[in-house]
């Protein structure tokens, strides 16, 4: 059932068994598991079904360094479906090594292993509409996927690990009808959590406010915070009380620390011999899912060199430099004003457009007008009009000279933080303040991977990599922290001194409060987070269902009562 908070009276108290705060992929995946379960659920969307300026403004906050992190109203969407309203849909699971304690990475090691979440990945893949849980290039497509280039097998890398793409599915519009239809689920639109109320270990209620000034309380037996990596920390920190003076779950001063994104950028020039057939695009699985190869640094090599997890993809040259000579890249460069900030930031880079630039880009287009027109027409077909969209721009560079698109783990960092800032939102609640930091290790991971690729590529005799080791940091930090991946602010740990939630995602120091979302990830992996977020929601749902089962003793008592009656 869908409920507009505007239809409720102020001071309404809603009671339920399970209250889920936040309706992005994490909250929605969790709620879906309870359809028909007999357990009463309230899902708080924190916005409308669709973009709403006033709701979005509640995300505003402070950023310590504008060059390193985007404004807090960007790369987050306060609405039903959360940021999946705009995500790119790139899916892949975490690797076993991501969960391990690695001596060379301080703060690494989860209290659970890959095996604990593995059973939930296939269903997560289905919910994300990324098809079969099959991430092996040899099996994802009948007959195997096309190789990047014949004989090109850089040995330090696994070239058969792929990424698969969601439609990309907006969890809000995709699953709304199922939630609306479920008798035991109430979706509360346009209500915003401002406080988790807990007198002691037991969380009593979630306090909500509406944009038209009402206060509504949801009292549940169990509560789950699924408001995204930044907002989860903010809500926990802002829920200060006598019982929780530093905020909830923050006895060990861990909430908001270890705020991780990914280290990413395009760099280097990988040149294949002219004329060598090189494939860096998408293959399609039987179910229509787009699949793409990546080069993933092998776990044993990570250990050997003491670096983090990292993947690379072949990429078209950077758009702003007209020297790439490709009309379509120039056309997209010139279309910058029509592309959303979130996608244009990395595509176009920060460079300002000068008239001379524009002219040279224009010239590129004139050099291959039919190529550009054909490309755009096809783009309308496979992207604009398609329900399963072609995931990204694939343009072969002239002369077989590719850049590398790099996506690397950011290692845990106690000083990279989300805290409460000085500003207040319209409800008078402190806004978030983000101070994103990175460590030398983060840059080293990328530098080492590039050096290994340079050596390995040369050994294959098919390609050569050219890059300047001194320039790695600048290239990886040019656009700052990778947008949209907000990880680690309520990390899972063995105890409250090093973590915020336990292995079941229950917040330390509480009985009945849980977190779902990338906030709980102690390490960031090379992988984009959403598939793993969904897998953890499924795991949490299974745990909560067990918790909700009446205890054996209760069944016995009620049976006796029944017999007496």
């Amino acid at each position: 059932m869908m409920l507009e908070a505007s239809q409720l009276q102020s001071a309404t108290v809603l009671s339920t068994q399970l209250c889920i705060v936040g309706a992005g992929p994490a909250g929605i995946s969790l709620a879906l598991q309870f359809i028909g379960s007999g357990i009463d659920v309230i899902l708080i969307a924190g916005g409308k079904a669709g973009h709403d300026e006033a709701a979005q403004a509640l995300y505003a906050g402070e950023v310590a360094d504008d060059a390193l992190h985007s404004p807090l109203t960007e790369y987050r969407h306060r609405q039903l479906g959360g940021s999946s309203a705009t995500w790119g849909g790139r899916c892949m699971p975490f690797d076993p090594i991501d969960f391990e304690r690695r001596d060379f990475i301080a703060g690494s090691g989860w209290p659970i292993g890959h095996d604990d979440v593995a059973p939930y990945y296939p269903e997560a893949n289905v919910l994300a509409e990324a098809g079969d849980f099959q991430y092996d290039a040899k099996k994802a497509v009948e007959g195997g996927m096309r190789p990047i280039a014949e004989g090109f097998n850089p040995v330090s890398f696994d070239n058969d690990r792929i990424e698969r793409f969601s439609c990309p599915t907006d969890f809000g519009s995709r699953y709304r009808h199922r939630l609306a239809h479920a008798a035991n689920i109430r979706v509360l639109l346009d209500a915003h959590a401002v406080e988790i109320r807990a007198g002691g270990e037991k969380v009593e209620a979630i306090v909500l406010r509406t944009l038209d000034g009402k206060e509504i309380t949801v009292a549940a037996e169990r509560h789950v915070i699924a408001t995204g990596g930044i907002e989860t920390a903010r809500l926990l920190l802002a829920s200060r009380s006598e019982a929780h003076p530093a905020g909830i779950g923050n006895a060990g001063d861990q909430v908001g620390r270890n705020y991780l994104c990914h280290i990413a950028g395009t760099y280097g020039e990988l040149a294949f011999a002219p004329g060598t057939p090189v494939f860096h695009g998408y293959d399609r699985a039987w179910d229509g899912v787009y699949c793409r190869r990546r080069m993933a640094l092998r776990p044993e090599i990570q250990r050997e060199h003491g670096v983090g997890n990292v993947v690379m993809r072949l990429h078209h040259p950077r758009l702003p430099d007209p020297a790439h000579g490709r009309g379509i890249l120039s056309a997209i460069y010139l279309a910058k004003p029509f592309i959303s900030y979130e996608y244009s930031k990395r595509l176009h880079g920060g460079d300002a457009m000068t008239p001379g630039h524009v002219l040279r880009h224009g010239f590129n287009i004139l050099r291959e007008p039919f190529g550009v027109a054909g490309f755009l027409l096809n783009w309308v077909k496979v992207r604009t009009l398609a329900a399963r969209k072609f995931p990204s721009l694939i343009v072969a560079p002239r002369n077989n000279r590719f850049t590398l698109d790099i996506h690397a783990e950011q290692v845990p960092n106690l000083d990279s933080r989300v805290t409460l800032g000085a500003g207040l939102d319209i409800f008078g609640k402190p806004q978030a303040r983000v101070d994103w930091r990175y460590k030398p290790k983060d840059i080293e991971t990328v530098r080492v991977a590039l050096e290994l690729l340079r050596r390995d590529a040369a050994a294959t005799g098919r390609a050569s990599l050219d890059f300047d080791p001194e320039g790695v940091a600048e290239a990886m930090l040019r656009d700052g922290a990778y947008g949209g991946h907000h990880i680690g602010t309520a990390r899972m740990g063995p105890n409250p001194d090093t973590g915020v939630v336990d292995r079941e995602c229950r917040v330390f120091g509480t009985d009945n409060l849980y977190v779902s979302g990338s906030a709980i990830f102690p390490t960031s992996s090379q992988a984009n987070p959403t598939l793993t977020i969904v897998a953890f929601s499924l795991r949490l749902a299974a745990h909560l269902k067990r918790e909700f089962l009446p205890k054996r003793s209760e069944i016995r008592t009620s049976a006796i009562k029944g017999a007496a009656a």
Binding site: T169, S173, H177, A285, A387
Partner: protein, 322 residues
Amino acid sequence: MSILVAGAGGFVGRRLVEKLHAEGRPVIAGVRKPRESFARLGIEQRIFDAEKPETLGTALRGVTHVVNCIMGSPAAMVASTRNLAEASVKAGVQRFAHFSSIAVFGNAEGEIGDDFPVGQNVDAYGQAKIDCEHLVRKAQQEGLRTVILRPALIYGPGSEQWTARIARLLRWSRLGDLGAAGDGICNLIHVDDVVAAAIAALDRPEAANRAFNLAMAEAPSWNRYLMDFGQALGFTPIFRVPGRNLRIETKLVAIPLKIAEIVTGKLGFGQQLVPDLISPSLGRLFNLDARYHSARADIVLGAPAVGYADGLRQSANWVSRQ
């Protein structure tokens, strides 16, 4: 024992006759027009039109068991059932198995067992099926031992509606992965399981005077069925049908197609000339959240034996042979 299958020219009737014949049972095919294939097998055929009671006179002579597989317009089904049931009472038939349908449950959602109340928002077809069930129960009160079978969507070799038509729509990418429009449950039952249940309905004493849902356990979602079947047919990669396509199909395209279907039908052309239509009610079915349970049939008549994967494979093979 002598079994008359009325409506033997239809999809289920034909399979049932062939199966009974293969088992060496004395079976008579009740048809409106004689069929070459039955003649070849040496199966006795009796020609009648159950809508016209006067043609039924000799049809039931010597018959001990009747299976009513007659399909048609709502009026035709009701008239045929009435006439056939009355004639069976008169002829002293020992067992009367009647094919109803899960359509009697209308658009009811949730878990639907054998004793779920019928009649919630039913369409004309479902109402006719309910009326037929009433007529069968009336005959039961007059001493006829009856069995009512309510199969779900019958798929498999020979199924025009849920196999051949779906395959055509998949081939032209008019159906595929439907996303939010295809989350309903696709309650299938394989034709061989339906035939087996019908035979058990004649044989088992405990089946008498009861109604049975016939549906597969753990039925897939519509999206799952459409994608799995598309894969089995080799129509890959499966097309993700944009929501707007399906809306246009059910709201705009369905109307002229329906008219074209009626006109070509009236003019006596084959209906093959008109492309399949995706009616609004079919569109709704793709999202119907109803799961039919056949607990009673599983115990009394035997649980379905054809697995989903096998059923898909057989269906795809049959379609490719067409």
